[in-house]
Amino acid sequence: MSTTISTNIEEEDLWGGGKQPFKASYGKLMMWFFIVSDALTFSGFLVAYGFSRFKNIDSWPIADEVFNHFPFLHGVDAPMYYVALMTFVLIFSSVTMVLAVDAGHHMQKERVVFYMALTIIGGAIFVGSQAWEWKNFIKGEYGAVETNGGQIYQFVYEDNPKKRIGLENLALEIPGDRVQHESKNGIWFRDESTLPSFTLNEVVSGFKSNPNIVIKTEKIDEKGHKIILSREESLEKISQAKYVVEGANLVRNEYGNRLFADFFFFITGFHGFHVLSGVVINIIIFFNVLIGTYERRGHYEMVEKVGLYWHFVDLVWVFVFTFFYLV
């Protein structure tokens, strides 16, 4: 660095405005500021997920066993295919976005319109896929029971531990169910959450009368598989069951550790919200391109800026995909 005092002319140059730090325009730099801070927010989420996972390293749910649905393939075990498809959709919409930016550099309005439209469609497909993923997650498929200590017991066949049995095939019909308490009944307008389709008593007696069903615990052995109890151990453990759990909510879920569902909702939800707002911003820019705002302005830098945001959303998904579904 020079130690001489700069001349008046240089100072005027520096302080007179019109200089672009890093040769990037104001808007682009501000978008980078936002992206860096948003990246830290997401890493905070993912690291918190890592914390809970390391804390429960021997009992965390296995993603392949949770996310194994594919549209139109009912009951087929298809781990990861659907998220992989979502990843490709998002990467592809990222590519159409870069192509739109590139067309903007060449001032080709028609091509910008075309590629922006493809990007918006890709983003909409992704958000829709995520909604479908949430629906499956919330609804659940087999159901489980939970103990007082928060352990989840799932039910599998003894001779084929890979095959799970749903509560509807397991539970015995016992007449005399209690009905859901609603705020219109009783005093003090209190209500309770939706009752599971089967009472604990029905599930437990169904389990006892089915000699070839055993319990699959949360615990993971050294090989990374869930530990499956013998029939005698299962009969002993079933007496500790306290709740019937179907699907997932923020309190308990049938897949295992309670925090797993919480992090699923928060991380994919936060990311999905980013995609949704990205689609909305893309639509605004799309219409601006259509009515020729940027043509008159003389440059398409707005497309580039919204493109930065869109790629960032894709970048975050790459990490969510790895840490939620692969690792």
């Binding site: 990861m80 992989a84 550099h105 352990q151 830098e301 790629h311």
Partner: protein, 127 residues
């Protein structure tokens, strides 16, 4: 605007594209290949990669490295960081790497410690 300011080579100059558009498609193909490798590894789960290495499975390290590779190409080619000044590149990347690496290190160590406490403690969590 800036028509020929794009740097058109990836893999340290191993692959040079004729135009910015062909580069974009090239990067897409590369990212798709990496994602496919990840998905195939995740479904097949080769037995040899299930050994523990540095406190997690070998396969997880491969996933993390491939993710960082993908992140590099998304940032460098899709977000045009390759065309920015080295000062801007450094202020984005070094900030993130430093803060995230620190956060990851300190919080995962803490999580591991809490696991140990719960595992070795006298309290039963299975009831």
């Amino acid at each position: 605007m800036e028509n020929n300011t794009h740097k058109l080579e990836i893999f340290r100059g191993l692959l040079k594209f004729k135009s910015n558009q062909t580069k974009i498609w090239g990067v897409l193909i590369f990212l798709s290949i990496v994602t496919t490798i990840e998905v195939v590894l995740g479904i097949v789960k080769p037995e040899i990669l299930m050994n523990t290495f540095l406190s997690t499975k070998l396969i997880n390290w491969i996933f993390i490295i491939l993710t960082l590779v993908k992140a590099y190409y998304i940032a460098w080619d899709f977000m045009h960081l390759r065309d920015e000044t080295s000062g801007l590149q450094a202020s984005i990347v070094i900030t993130l790497i430093f803060l995230i690496a620190y956060l990851v290190f300190i919080i995962l160590v803490e999580g591991n410690y809490i696991y140990d406490v719960m595992y070795e403690g006298f309290v039963s969590w299975n009831f």
